[in-house]
Symmetry: C2
Subunit: 125 residues, 2 copies
């Protein structure tokens, strides 16, 4: 992994990366988890990206890892105090998602997104 590309400018950037919120949400609900446990909880994520995200989150001080030097090795991830302060927020976010997820499916074919092209023509009378 390149060191340069991991110099992330701010926390929004990290949170805005794919899977970050997912990972934090799972750490929030499951407490201490291991690498492959997260992979099982989020089956669509690849090892590569999970590894990157965990390193970024660790660097940002959101999670910490504990390594057990066994064979095979064991690594446990958990939230730091900073990460724990995110828990209530993530909970609320999760509730919000659950609430609207169903609505979204119902309204899927009703939404009438406005498109600028048509209105440009209208303006060009």
């Amino acid at each position: 992994m390149n060191e340069e590309k991991c110099e992330i400018v701010d926390i929004w950037e990290v949170l805005g990366r794919r899977w970050s919120l997912h990972i934090l949400k799972n750490l929030t609900t499951h407490g201490t988890v291991r690498f492959n446990e997260i992979k099982r909880l989020i089956p669509e994520i690849s090892s590569t990206v999970l590894s990157d995200r965990l390193l970024e989150l660790e660097r940002e001080g959101l999670i910490s890892k504990k390594i057990f030097p066994q064979v095979p090795i064991k690594v446990e991830y958990s939230l730091t105090p900073q990460g724990k302060e995110l828990q209530p927020i993530l909970h609320q976010l999760n509730n919000w998602v659950d609430k609207w997820q169903s609505h979204r499916i119902e309204n899927k074919f009703e939404t009438d997104n406005q498109n600028v092209k048509a209105y440009r023509k209208a303006a060009a009378r």
Copy 2:
């Protein structure tokens, strides 16, 4: 824009995309905003991506747009009721970011991230 690639599976996916949270945060704090206004508020974002994100957020029912067929055209973006329910959550998130942003900078060179490679060697004695 390809229709297929815009079929997004869930809200987490949309929120987890780059700039989404940023855009929502700015809509939360500024109310009704126009396209170039957002670009000014988030100078690093490109037109291409801002356009994509706004469309996705509109499709998910988080924001709505109002088009004024003038020349030059005017488009206003604002939060839907669903989007407005995110406001308190985004506020808390924003506070959390502000709180820890400074810590992060201070601790930047103190963090001692654990790395598995070293421990594998330890285990391999």
